[in-house]
Symmetry: C2
Subunit: 336 residues, 2 copies
């Protein structure tokens, strides 16, 4: 019963004779032996570990993506090392260093900075890397993203199709890629709507995607002339603030003002009126990212791939679609 045999029992059971195998197994659980991944790694070169670097695991968006990734990676024997950077490039660097020392077999990352050179360099040093909710830009990297342009188009398009002609767009700073993309999509919807009837999109930029910025924006929005009959928000927090202000101002939603949000956070459906919103397939995003990673880690001749998901419009009461007849495009109706 030598070390070599024990190793074979664990890794190539078929190569060792049954009686020996049993004797070894018996000894293993008699002594409570647990193999050491570290030694295994040292010899074989795989750590059975994947680094996940994101802005904040307490943010449900990331947490759900992580669940998606965890599902597929767990089934392949990997454990996740989860690292929150809080958007600090310093912290990101430290974590990446540590993960490299741990020789993670792969890396899922939402980088802090727009400039991806550091990440690309790491990937170049042989760590399979997939970008989460960021696209590779110039760099040759795998990525899993959601089409925010399309999302913006869905939200705005929905309102235009319901017959609204003047809609407001409460958006964050366009330095945030997501905000810029959603605006782009909204404008696309606007151009389309204009082919049928006059339509306007009034953008109001706020400096944070928060509830109280939403409240303020809504107040400003009510004093616009002509007053828009619908408002789309760059995320659900803003929408929540807007709903709050409107309710305080006695403006009926959706009758006097239709509202759509973005993200479809867990409580969007619990509000009254329930919030129409654009859902991002977070779980799937993480799962696909993990699959790309496996492909890159295991596949011999890997070609970098980018997967882009379509967001989905979840229609609820706040946009008034049910009453007005959702999706009946091209039949604009007068707004009260």
């Amino acid at each position: 019963m030598s070390l070599g045999t024990v190793s074979n029992v664990l890794n190539n059971p078929e190569v060792v004779a049954l009686p020996t195998r049993q004797r070894v197994l018996e000894a293993i659980d008699r002594t409570g032996f647990v193999r050491s991944t570290a030694a295994h790694q040292l010899r074989v070169g795989k750590s059975r570990t994947v680094g996940v670097v994101l802005l904040d695991i307490a943010n449900p968006f990331f947490a759900e993506m992580v669940r998606g990734a965890e599902g597929v990676l767990r089934d392949n024997g990997y454990v996740l090392m989860v690292c929150s950077t809080d958007e600090s490039i310093e912290r990101e660097r430290r974590y990446l260093r540590v993960l490299e020392e741990h020789r993670v077999d792969g890396l899922l990352i939402t980088p802090v900075e727009h400039d991806l050179r550091e990440v690309a360099e790491l990937a170049g040093r042989g760590i399979p890397t997939v970008l989460l909710d960021r696209d590779g830009g110039e760099q040759e990297l795998c990525s899993a993203t959601v089409d925010d342009i399309r999302g913006g188009e869905l939200a705005a398009g929905h309102l235009f199709e319901l017959g609204h002609q003047a809609i407001a767009f409460v958006n964050g700073p366009s330095s945030i890629r997501q905000c810029a993309d959603r605006r782009e999509g909204a404008q696309r919807a606007l151009r389309r709507a204009r082919r049928r009837s006059p339509a306007t999109l009034r953008e109001m930029t706020v400096n944070a995607l928060s509830v109280d910025q939403g409240e303020k924006a809504a107040i400003g929005l009510l004093s616009l002339t002509p007053r828009p009959s619908a408002v789309m928000c760059a995320n659900d927090q803003l929408a929540l603030g807007v709903l709050k202000s409107l309710s305080e101002a006695g403006v009926a939603v959706p009758d006097e003002m239709a509202v759509v949000g973005y993200d479809d956070v867990s409580f969007a459906s619990m509000l009254s009126p329930a919030l129409t919103s654009v859902r991002q397939p977070k779980y799937e995003l993480g799962a696909i990212a993990a699959e790309l990673l496996l492909e890159e880690a295991l596949g011999s001749n890997h070609k970098h791939r980018s997967v882009r998901f379509e967001p989905e419009l979840v229609v609820r009461a706040s946009s008034g679609a049910t009453r007005r007849g959702a999706g009946r495009a091209g039949q604009p109706r007068p707004v009260p």
Copy 2:
């Protein structure tokens, strides 16, 4: 320039002469050397890794605890291996096995099962272990918990002090420890209230802590005679459902019915009326757990400790405290 010297440069710089040290450092970043944690671990016995096993990282309660733990562990050079069990004992076992193979330096865990023997056994095998939001019971284990009895008492006590005499308690099954504790606390508040005036607590048990169970419960609640003037819920999801039903039934909150929730989830403050709720110090819970872990891992003569946090009542509009005069205990007023 031998291996030994390189190692010394990295670990005991003061022992190697300046010129050599610099030569080594230069060589290190010329060749892009990154030390291997695995080899380090093999020799030294520390993996610089902590396992975090919880029910679901996508649940904000756990995610925030993890952030608390991550903060303190990161500063001590540890990386977190996060594992979601989804309450499956099988999955928990597999993860624990893998973490043991990785030789994690510590373990933070919210066990799936009530029976802690397996966990205690693991701890007995030398892995420093701290229970998260579970107390050790019979077993000798460190733990960080929140006093749910106290929380229940706070919530119910608040309503009684506001002058309510008949309050309903929408609670989950008492097989869930948290639910049982909160009920215990509520009854404690009830006994206290009875010393001053007649008071009743009517418990309604639902089988899940979800929004729609809350909606159903609220409907039942309205047909009770005498109709309670206040309702406390075992968590915010239930409270949300209750608010929804009440709003649909045209019952004014808080004037005709006061409502308090439990957990103080992120959107509790965003509802209208904003929800009075009991906040658990999630971040602190994780941070303390991590500190206990470090203490146990590093300290020579460690004594097991349990830290129990006090929850905090966050008073907002839904309980009508502002109008009625919060905290003026002993001055019961008639309820409309």
